[in-house]
């Protein structure tokens, strides 16, 4: 059902509300992916421009949030492709200098976590943040990033394992146990 019929309001108004309600979330996600406030903001603006341009393609309002995040992911992909560069951990070091987190008592912890997240390959970083920050289901993440659910699970697994190594100073479980002991429960 077209969302304009579902809500009985104009498409333009519904779209405006959609943008208003999701801009903060999009920005937070973009920042988690890039660790760069300006770049994150530009990506969100690009996302909104593209969403604005293609708003007629959105037929199911229930899928609107995923649709916006998918556009955001595509914008980042386009940006990285255009720049032909990886947003490496080196970039993250700069961010810490310019974003004093006065509101946190545990500034060091926040920095440490962000640095660890930034060290993840972008594919893992996207999955981890979409699941942990936005609490998207695996199926939604799969749709947003255009990958199978199984890939979402494996990337999430590897991403969290790496974070655990960095943050909890705990080696991956697999390395401390014989491989034969690792089994999947059906």
């Amino acid at each position: 059902m077209a969302y304009k019929n579902l809500f009985g309001i104009s498409q333009r108004r519904a779209f405006r509300r959609l943008v208003t309600n999701n801009r903060e979330r999009l920005y937070r996600m973009a920042y988690a992916w890039t660790s760069d406030p300006h770049l994150a903001d530009d990506l969100v603006q690009q996302t909104l421009l593209k969403a604005l341009k293609n708003q007629k393609q959105l037929r199911d309002f229930a899928a609107a949030e995923g649709w916006l995040f998918r556009i955001l992911a595509n914008c980042l992909t386009d940006y990285r492709r255009a720049k032909r560069e990886l947003l490496s951990a080196d970039d993250l070091e700069i961010v810490d200098r310019v974003t004093p987190e006065h509101q946190f008592n545990d500034e060091q912890l926040v920095r440490r976590v962000r640095r660890a997240v930034q060290r993840l390959p972008i594919n893992h970083r996207q999955v981890v943040t979409l699941v942990d920050l936005e609490e998207f289901s695996y199926a939604s993440v799969a749709q947003i990033l255009g990958i199978p659910v199984g890939t979402v699970m494996s990337r999430l697994c590897r991403g969290r394992r790496a974070l655990r190594e960095h943050l909890l100073e705990m080696k991956p479980r697999e390395s401390s146990r014989p491989a034969t002991n690792i089994k999947r429960v059906k």
Binding site: F15, R16, V19, T20, R23, Y27, R28, Y31, T34, D36, P37, H38, L39, A40, D41, D42, V44, Q45, Q46, L48, L49, L52, K53, Y79, K83, I94, R97, V98, T99, E101, Q103, F104, L109, V110, V113, R114, V117, V128, T129, V131, D132, L133, E135, S137, Y138, M153, L156, R160, L163, R164, L167, L168, M170, R173, R177, N181, I182, K183, R184, V185
Partner: protein, 237 residues
């Protein structure tokens, strides 16, 4: 072999992320009751998840699109952002050109001096990014032209938005067009200075003073988006 050895990381993640069915969740709860090791793994995974959430609960904010809040950020990525802004501006212009019918797009490429007829009731937002006096003058000329071609009884709204080097148009100590801006403002042309461009200059130590007719609240692109959503036509100079 311990029971928890059967539990894969994928299963633990699925459990924490609420992806397991009720029966599977109960099963895992039970196993965690019996195994300290599994319980510890669960706690660690949960802690990890909460850490990530915590780290991004509040993130540094740039200028906002709709809330109008303004916070200061650093110099990080300015070069990248500037490049990206150029790309975005260019892209915006390109797709708008692609979407506007010739009759709706007076002047087409403004720099080409094309002078097609305009539709009476449309409002226009002119986006100035160049600091070249010729381009800035062209923008003012276009604003005047748009006003003059409005049908009597159907006043047209025109807004000039300046960012990047185009901000010079609205800087009182730089612009060579103070009189023209004042005259156009008297004709209800709105002059809008990009908050982000101002912020970037200020971060470089440049004191930005705007002509009294200029207003600022959003970034240029934010303003363009807002006006476009209101149905305004976009012209990039």
């Amino acid at each position: 072999m311990n029971k928890d050895d059967k539990i894969s990381e994928e299963q633990l993640n699925a459990f924490l992320d609420g992806e397991l069915e009720s029966e599977e969740r109960s099963c895992l709860f039970n196993e965690a009751e019996l195994s300290d090791d599994l319980d510890q793994r669960l706690c660690q995974q949960r802690k990890l998840k909460e850490l990530v959430k915590h780290a991004y609960r509040d993130v540094p904010q740039p200028n906002r699109l709709l809330s109008g809040r303004r916070t200061r950020t650093g110099l990080v990525g300015l070069a990248m952002a500037a490049c990206l802004l150029l790309v975005v501006g260019f892209t915006t212009g390109m797709f708008m050109r692609g979407h506007l019918e010739p009759a709706q797009y007076p002047g087409g490429n403004a720099t080409a001096g094309n002078t097609q007829a305009v539709t009476a009731m449309e409002n226009y937002i002119l986006h100035v990014i160049s600091g070249e006096p010729e381009q800035m003058g062209l923008a003012l000329q276009k604003a005047e032209e748009l006003l003059s071609t409005a049908e009597p009884g159907y006043p047209r709204q025109v807004e000039v938005v300046a960012n990047e080097q185009g901000l010079d148009l609205l800087r009182s100590d730089v612009t060579p067009f103070s009189k023209e801006i004042r005259a156009l403002a008297n004709e209800n042309v709105i002059f809008y200075a990009c908050s982000k461009a101002i912020q970037r200059l200020e971060e470089k130590g440049v004191e930005v003073q705007l002509v009294p007719e200029a207003i600022t609240r959003y970034s240029a692109l934010d303003r363009v988006v807002i006006r476009m959503k209101d149905g305004w036509q976009y012209i990039k100079i």
